[in-house]
């Protein structure tokens, strides 16, 4: 039977497309259990989006959790093999508390992790795959990229205390220039560079040359050079146009380092892709190699409905009790052969929206109602 993509919902289409995309680049599927030892999450609580985890006791008394995250399990179950990389993708449901309504939610997540001897090629390929993931969902997409080294060097250079550093990072995340001004003036330091970073926004080719002029340290220069090499890579692969530099992409500094990014689709009110390099998380979990990855949050894709389906079915065929089943079947076949969605029933279900209402008579189908 031929496969009709039109019956798929956006998120279902995305799952197929993304799996196909990741397989092309040598990623293999990582399938895991729905549960994981609670202990794993407690030790890395700050890494998770929310502290709340659904837990339960296994038959042997062990405390388990419904996975709030996939990355931690992948890191835990992998081994460092010098010189090689492990490339896996996953398609899993995770269980988290939504910040918006403070209730548990099941979120469908597709993502990939590249772990091991991660070099420039791996990093750039991952950023490219992030851009292509968004593109496979919609042509109207933007991938914002930041480099944690640039932001942290600028904050270090400001020379403020730990509390202020944390607050400055938050203000950069909000693009809050007046907030940066306030913290810097209270601390008696210059906030010009931080404000420049917070307000920087634009395409790679427009922003990167300007960044070179504001570099203040070797580490920052190296980060800008890496972004420049990344821009050339993306350009050669045809996706540089939708990638922007935005230093307000702030991931948790205790886990992430280097290149981080966040993806947006026009018509969806929040970011739907998030990722970056997380060597610090690897170190915390006793791994020696490097890592980069991202996740696409598919639950928001239902907001992207191209056209709202107006009807539940195309046609309803009513038949009387005792009608000949062969005649009903023939009538249904007649409609489905034309690709119509048909409901054969004795009476119309409540609130059902249909395009056409037909009645099975002895002489054939009679049209009772046409709504289209």
């Amino acid at each position: 039977m031929e496969f009709n993509r039109n019956v798929l919902k956006n998120e279902e289409k995305a799952i197929f497309d993304l799996r196909a995309l990741y397989s092309l680049y040598g990623y293999t599927q990582y399938k895991m259990s729905k549960f994981e030892a609670y202990d794993l999450y407690v030790r890395n609580k700050d890494y998770l989006v929310s502290d709340n985890i659904i837990t339960f006791t296994d038959t042997d008394g062990k405390l388990l959790a419904l996975k709030p995250d996939v990355t931690l399990s992948i890191i835990k179950n992998g081994k460092d093999v010098p010189g090689s990389v492990q490339k896996v993708y996953y398609n899993e449901n995770v269980y988290r508390v939504s910040k918006k309504n403070n209730a548990f939610q099941e979120i469908m997540q597709v993502g990939l992790e590249c772990i091991g001897a991660v070099d420039d090629y791996c990093i750039f390929e991952t950023v490219m795959l992030a851009a292509q993931s968004l593109q496979s969902i919609s042509e109207d997409y933007i991938l914002d990229v930041s480099h944690m080294d640039i932001v942290s060097e600028a904050i270090e250079a400001a020379g403020v205390g730990a509390e202020e550093k944390k607050a400055l990072l938050e203000r950069i995340g909000e693009k809050n220039l007046h907030g940066i001004d306030q913290i810097c003036s209270e601390a008696g330091v210059d906030g010009t560079l931080l404000k420049t970073l917070a307000s920087t926004y634009g395409k790679l080719a427009d922003v990167l040359p300007k960044l070179e002029t504001i570099s203040i340290s070797e580490k920052m220069r190296a980060a800008i050079e890496q972004l420049t090499r990344m821009a050339a890579f993306l350009d050669a692969n045809g996706c540089a146009d939708n990638v922007y530099i935005d230093f307000s992409v702030i991931n948790n500094q205790s886990y992430y380092n280097g290149i981080v990014f966040c993806g947006f689709i026009k018509g969806i009110p929040t970011g739907i892709l998030s990722g970056g390099e997380y060597d610090k998380l690897m170190q915390k979990m006793g791994r020696k190699s490097h890592a980069i990855g991202f996740a696409v949050y598919l639950d928001m894709l239902e907001r992207l409905q191209a056209e709202e389906k107006k009807y539940d079915v195309d046609a309803v065929i009513l038949y009387d009790a005792g009608a000949d089943v062969q005649s009903i079947s023939a009538a249904v076949k007649l409609m489905t052969a034309g690709g119509k969605r048909v409901l054969a029933t004795g009476a119309i279900p409540e609130k059902l929206q249909y395009k056409q209402l037909l009645k099975l008579q002895e002489k054939g189908l009679e049209i009772l109602e046409n709504n289209a």
Binding site: K99, K100, G179, F264, I268, P269, G271
Partner: protein
């Protein structure tokens, strides 16, 4: 089309005047009536009046691309939005107030009545002070008088309401004013229009300083 959520009331009117000056006028807004949504097709802008404390929700969820909300609301609900500009309007401060002559006894748990639960919690957590939060929706000032609480955490503009209720500011801790906020994806997909508005509003704020 750029959707702008404005807070109902005097502050919203002042903010609209700034947008008008920036070249994004919508004359229909001045017509009397109860309409809440106003559009100027030519300027590609649509304004709507919402309850001040709801502006951040409209913006965070993308029903509005930009909006104007008080820092008190932003600090309390921490919406995931960009805070682009301090409009220097609607200035007041968040303060702890108590009955005149109040002494904070550190041996006891402090009972705090407030509308701003998260702000109050964060303020006292930073001091390591043990508190009992009492969430109220209005008439906060009477809580200490009726011995419902020891102190209140609330917005203070002139201090006259406090005075009339025999209360005084014990400690001010957060300056508040109206902020221009933006939905994150909107900032990206409607960047040119937003930068134009931001540029003009910043210039107006600077000129007023």
């Amino acid at each position: 089309m750029l959707n702008v959520a404005l807070p109902k009331g005097r502050l919203g009117e002042k903010v609209y005047a700034m947008f008008e000056k920036a070249g994004f006028e919508c004359p229909a807004i001045h017509e009397p009536g109860r309409k809440l949504i106003f559009e100027n097709e030519e300027k590609q802008v649509r304004y709507f009046w919402v309850k001040p404390s709801d502006v951040a929700i409209y913006v965070e969820r993308g029903a509005a691309d930009i909006g104007v909300a008080g820092k008190d609301i932003l600090a309390e609900y921490a919406p995931d939005v960009y805070e682009l500009l301090d409009l220097n309007l609607g200035k007041c401060r968040m303060a702890v107030a108590a009955k005149k002559g109040f002494r904070d006894n550190p041996e006891k748990t402090l009972r705090v009545a407030t509308k701003f639960t998260n702000i109050a919690k964060a303020h006292y957590a930073a001091q390591g002070r043990d508190i009992d939060i009492i969430h109220l929706n209005g008439s906060i000032e009477i809580a200490p008088i009726l011995d419902l609480s020891d102190v209140i955490v609330d917005i203070v503009e002139t201090g006259s309401t406090l005075k009339e209720n025999n209360l005084e500011v014990y400690e001010s801790f957060m300056p508040i004013s109206a902020r221009l906020i933006a939905n994150k994806p909107s900032f990206k997909f409607k960047n040119a229009l937003m930068q134009e508005i931001l540029g003009s509003l910043s210039a107006q704020v600077e000129a007023e300083k």
